[in-house]
Symmetry: C2
DNA sequence: AATTCACATGAACAGACGTTCATCATTACA
DNA sequence: TGTAATGATGAACGTCTGTTCATGTGAATT
């Protein structure tokens, strides 16, 4: 079969590759199986991506950008820090549910040397975003006067854990509501 | 070189394998490099482990058991729920720092079909442990009357995130104190 | 109708992989 | 000293990998 639209073919490859990398990791996913899943030959892949590594990095970058845009857009219309935090957690969870295993794949294969700069940059951006929310909340007197940077780290950690939990325990997904409840109100009854 | 103690050789292999799997993942770590790092030949590995898969599963099981024992022992002498939660988080973090990347390796390679039963069992046990603490705290009137099961999930998620954060951002490790502060006291100033 | 061009193929290649096994070296015991 | 037994070797094997490339095909252009 040939003479398909070039755009469609690339889209097919991306979809197949994302699935394969997510399921089997970088080493475990073979170019042959990606090609097969994309409905084309091995050679065809190399018309669209220089090699396996480039294909992998392309996917990482695409997904991270996707998330960044969604998150930033959401905050353009939110002023309340509480709502912002709740919203950010919800966006993160939706994203995680959508991309499941691939998220973990990203943070592991090849001992982080792989696409490290891209990921580092992404995490820095996200931390800055949360930090802005926290600072605002503290300034407004809504949040307790914790150290903002440390709180931002904790929130990021919580979200990461949330995402990992979804991937590890997909049959036991927990509601974001409880998550936000705990960080906002705290476990203790009285201070 | 030969006629080493069998025990020492096995120990060398375990150490080398843990390092290799942690750095490069299951697919990325080769038997040749494990053998080399252990100071022996490839064939030698097969005197102690049936194959690569068995070696990998052995390591997973060993590390999880190690952690379970540490956690359980700690709680034998603690009655205060607050102290117990703080302690559990600290133990988890210490463990994570010690084994870094291997923890992530465990939750990913081969799409979870790998050693899944072992991990599932481990997580169930840990959740039960946390649940016990939370329930006690609520019964004693120390914790807010949240849904205990959901809170346990959130706590587990937080810890997982903490661990992942340590691995992703080793140069930016955050203090466990802030973590426990946030979950115990909450962000909001007034309810 | 002839030519060009984008898209696609899959056998072929070199290298790496996990695993096996005939062989060897050292120790323990007879 | 001779004989098992234990621990270790690494070349060899078959399989799979990522990548290349000579070849093919159908649509668009001339």
């Amino acid at each position: 079969m040939n003479r398909r639209s070039s755009l469609q073919s690339k889209e097919n490859i991306k979809k197949a590759a994302l699935e394969a990398f997510s399921k089997y990791g970088y080493g475990g996913a073979s170019m042959k199986m990606i090609a097969h899943e994309a409905g084309m030959s091995v050679g065809g892949l190399y018309l669209y991506f220089k090699n396996k590594e480039e294909l992998y990095l392309f996917l990482i970058k695409e997904k991270l950008d996707e998330f960044s845009k969604t998150a930033e857009n959401a905050f353009k219309i939110i002023n309340d820090p509480v709502e912002a935090i709740v919203r950010y957690i919800n966006i993160s969870i939706e994203y995680a549910k959508k991309h499941k295993e691939f998220i973990i794949t990203q943070s592991k294969e090849h001992g982080f040397t792989f696409g490290m700069e891209i990921k580092k940059k992404f995490f820095e951006e996200q931390k800055a975003l949360i930090l802005r929310i926290i600072k605002k909340g503290i300034e407004n007197g809504i949040f307790k006067p914790f150290e903002p940077v440390e709180v931002a780290k904790v929130i990021m950690g919580l979200i990461r854990g949330f995402i990992i939990s979804i991937v590890i325990n997909p049959e036991n997904i927990f509601d974001a509501k409880y998550c936000t409840d705990v960080i906002l109100k705290g476990l203790l009854k009285e201070n």
